[in-house]
Symmetry: C2
Subunit: 156 residues, 2 copies
């Protein structure tokens, strides 16, 4: 059956939503009712080295103000701590807390289970091929998390 380009876009979004919705549901079942995908991705970015709001914004391809909002929520919920940067008074250093790491670990485990389910359904080789193709097509482009309906713009 022939598909249109728009259908391809919807398939990709559908795949994303399937994984993410299932992951969020499972995290909620495990007691974390207040974690959304952007939170997990933000914590991953912080743990990977984006340790201030400006850097996190760049990592997530959002403004530092938007990143700061997300940080505020993560801080409020105890997943991230903020402290002064000893080497630069302008900066606030971000630290993923133990609770934050716990949520990230559970998130990883859940995503792995979901991915394993996908591998079981279409074949591990086929899934690896699918991932390789998407890596080729998407490349290193920064991924933005705003509303699929929304249009982001280049950031400073």
């Amino acid at each position: 059956m022939s598909r249109t380009g728009a259908d391809l876009a919807l398939l990709l979004l559908g795949g994303f939503r399937t994984l993410v919705d299932d992951a969020v549901d499972e995290l909620a079942r495990r007691g974390h009712h207040d974690v959304r995908p952007v939170h997990d991705f933000a914590m991953r970015a912080i743990a990977a080295g984006a340790d201030n709001a400006s850097a996190l914004g760049r990592h997530l391809s959002v403004t530092k103000q938007s990143a700061a909002k997300t940080i505020g929520v993560l801080q409020e919920r105890g997943y991230v701590a903020v402290e002064p940067d000893p080497g630069d008074a302008r900066r606030k250093r971000l630290i993923v807390t133990e609770l934050g790491f716990e949520v990230m670990r559970q998130g990883e485990a859940i995503f792995e289970e979901l991915r394993a389910g996908w591998a079981a359904r279409i074949g591990a080789e086929e899934l690896a091929t699918l991932e390789r193709h998407l890596t080729t097509l998407v490349g290193a482009r920064p991924i933005r998390f705003d509303t699929p309906g929304g249009v982001g713009r280049d950031l400073t």
Copy 2:
């Protein structure tokens, strides 16, 4: 290289954004600066039979209030017309206008070009396989368009 489940989710989102961002940019170049993906998908759903706000909401997996907002924007911009339903006074019938169809046609063409570019890069057979796999995995699940960071809920 081994990938995590979260990376898979990001690859899917990245693929979606790549297509959609490029499509929106190209539509803007062709004079339609005010069309966002949710508008195109809403018009597609209306043209496919979701001809009132409640039905559109179900189609898009959002509340009828949210669908009504999108309809309001599309109406304001001349892409959709709203008229009373002769058979049911409660309902407002939605009609995609000629301008709306024009935008949809251009959107289709742009998405086809983008998809063709993908086929050129990884092979038409490989792309068809990727689509078939995603169709298997995503199935008929309704796709929601809210913020990837957001968590939608079951709707009435």
